[in-house]
């Protein structure tokens, strides 16, 4: 019990640091790929500090409520995962926190926010099946939904569910809102939708959103790490290395591909999920 509390506390304290560093790394690497020097590594922290220091403008009083709910539920979801909770419950909590963010955008009644909200919902519709399938994949591979038990598995799950990993990496691009799937809001200057989801969020509200995104990124990388972790302590090193590789791969994809239309995203993600994860599941069920 004490271990669980410690793990959760560590996640709550360290995840924003780690998430901020990851984002900083992403921005530096992106800049280098484009032949620029790029911002300092700690730039995301400067940004959030500034946002917290600024005045907050809101469109209505319930907007901030939804953003705070988003932050709290994201932290809750991550704590559930790193505390070793039930994988399916983690994902249900995750989709709930996302809905909170979408509602924050809807509540503003702004055209760009509403556009972002609809697109964000579509993105959720794209990755929701895969996220549930990942949980089922772990269950089929190692016989449990509990993260704590999965982390102590005999063999890394990736041996049994490589298809799931591919599918998950694919939807990770959607989840991180990287190009070609940066529909709802973007790190780049896509001005036709301004900032989409976050258009009408400002000041400390925006800072909360950014911090929630950091927690979310760490959670997602934690799930990637789950594919490689087993009883063997060496596997933790492998998992960390793989996380870094996949994260940098996302940065590369972000810089290489132009944005696609939403229907392309929907079709391609569902097809990829069906082909990789679906086939994987089918084979596993035949083997069992």
């Amino acid at each position: 019990m004490a271990m669980v509390v410690l793990k959760v506390a560590l996640y709550i304290l360290l995840a924003p640091v780690l998430g901020g560093l990851m984002e900083g790394l992403d921005r530096v690497v992106s800049a280098r790929m484009q032949g620029r020097q790029g911002p300092p590594l700690l730039q995301p922290f400067y940004d959030v500090y500034k946002l917290l220091a600024k005045q907050t403008t809101v469109v209505n009083s319930i907007q901030i409520l939804f953003v705070i709910a988003y932050l709290i539920f994201t932290i809750f979801t991550g704590s559930l995962f790193f505390g070793g909770g039930d994988m399916l419950l983690v994902f249900f909590a995750l989709s709930m926190s996302e809905v909170m963010m979408v509602l924050a955008a809807y509540s503003t009644n702004g055209p760009y926010s509403a556009l972002g909200a609809n697109r964000e919902l579509l993105q959720m519709m794209c990755y929701e099946p895969m996220i549930l399938l990942v949980a089922i994949g772990f269950y089929e591979a190692n016989g449990s939904f509990m993260v704590s038990e999965l982390a102590a598995a005999q063999n890394p799950a990736v041996f049994k569910i490589p298809g799931m990993l591919i599918g998950f990496i694919f939807i990770l691009t959607i989840k991180f809102r990287k190009s070609p799937f940066d529909m709802s809001t973007s790190h780049h200057a896509h001005q036709e939708m301004v900032k989409g989801l976050t258009s009408d969020i400002s000041g400390s509200n925006l800072a909360f959103y950014e911090i929630a995104e950091w927690y979310d990124q760490v959670l997602m990388m934690g799930i990637v790490a789950m594919f490689f972790i087993s009883k063997n302590p060496v596997s933790i090193v492998v998992a960390i290395v793989m996380c870094v590789i996949f994260y940098l791969m996302e940065t590369l994809i972000d810089n290489v591909f132009p944005r696609v239309k939403y229907i392309t995203m929907l079709i391609s993600s569902w097809v990829v999920i069906l082909v990789t994860a679906g086939t994987n599941l089918l084979i596993l069920s035949v083997l069992n």
Binding site: R36, D47, Q55, I201, S202
Partner: protein, 214 residues
């Protein structure tokens, strides 16, 4: 940590010939790479700290600039880029040009040039950062007094050349209570004759308590 480490910029083209705009965009390219200083071109006033204006202001763009300025959260600074934005430039005498950006919003830094050089522009932004830091202290004080600046009533006024009175071009400072009263009065005016009894006429909003962030 200073907040000036992450200045986010909103760029608006008043009525420029696009020369300055090209130069503004040039600062983002790998050659000048302003992201080194954490500068991001956001395109969204609600995220921006610095309003970069190019070109003179005309009757059509004036309310837009006003509105963008009002939607930016405090502290904020305005930079006029290029001579047209500073005082109207060669278009100054045109029938539709009101003049430089300072006819509509309070400008903090003037960066002359036709077109403005990227180096000058970056220099102007650095100057603006110092002002930003000063303003932040002021905002903090005013927040302590329990006031929030409000632009509910002045947000989209249609402007003509003669409407510009420098005395009224800044936000009033209102309490939230006054804001609500204003909104209710407006609703009472615009509401359709609803079946229920009309709400009592609300007294006009409280008078401005102190000067804005001029």
């Amino acid at each position: 940590m200073k907040i000036s480490k992450s200045p986010w910029v909103l760029h608006y083209d008043g009525s420029s010939c696009n020369g300055c705009d090209i130069e503004v965009l040039a600062t983002m390219t790998p050659l000048y790479d302003v992201e080194r200083f954490g500068i991001i071109n956001t395109g969204n006033p609600k995220h921006a700290d610095i309003l970069l204006l190019t070109g003179g202001i005309n009757a059509q763009t004036a309310p837009v600039v006003r509105q963008l300025y009002n939607q930016m959260p405090d502290p904020k600074v305005v930079i006029a880029c290029g001579i047209c934005s500073c005082d109207g430039g060669i278009f100054k005498e045109c029938y539709n040009i009101l003049g430089g950006s300072d006819k509509v919003v309070p400008v903090d830094v003037y960066v002359p040039g036709c077109a403005v050089r990227p180096e000058a522009l970056i220099d102007g932004v650095v100057k603006a950062l110092a002002i930003l830091e000063e303003k932040r202290v002021k905002v903090k004080e005013s927040m302590k007094q329990g006031y929030c600046t409000v632009d509910y009533s002045k947000i989209a006024v249609r402007m003509k050349a003669e409407d510009y009175d420098p005395a009224t071009q800044y936000d009033e400072v209102l309490t939230e209570e006054a804001l609500r009263e204003q909104a209710e009065a407006k609703i009472a005016q615009t509401a359709k004759p609803a079946p229920k009894p009309a709400p009592k006429p609300v007294a006009p909003a409280a008078a401005p308590k102190e000067g804005g962030n001029a």
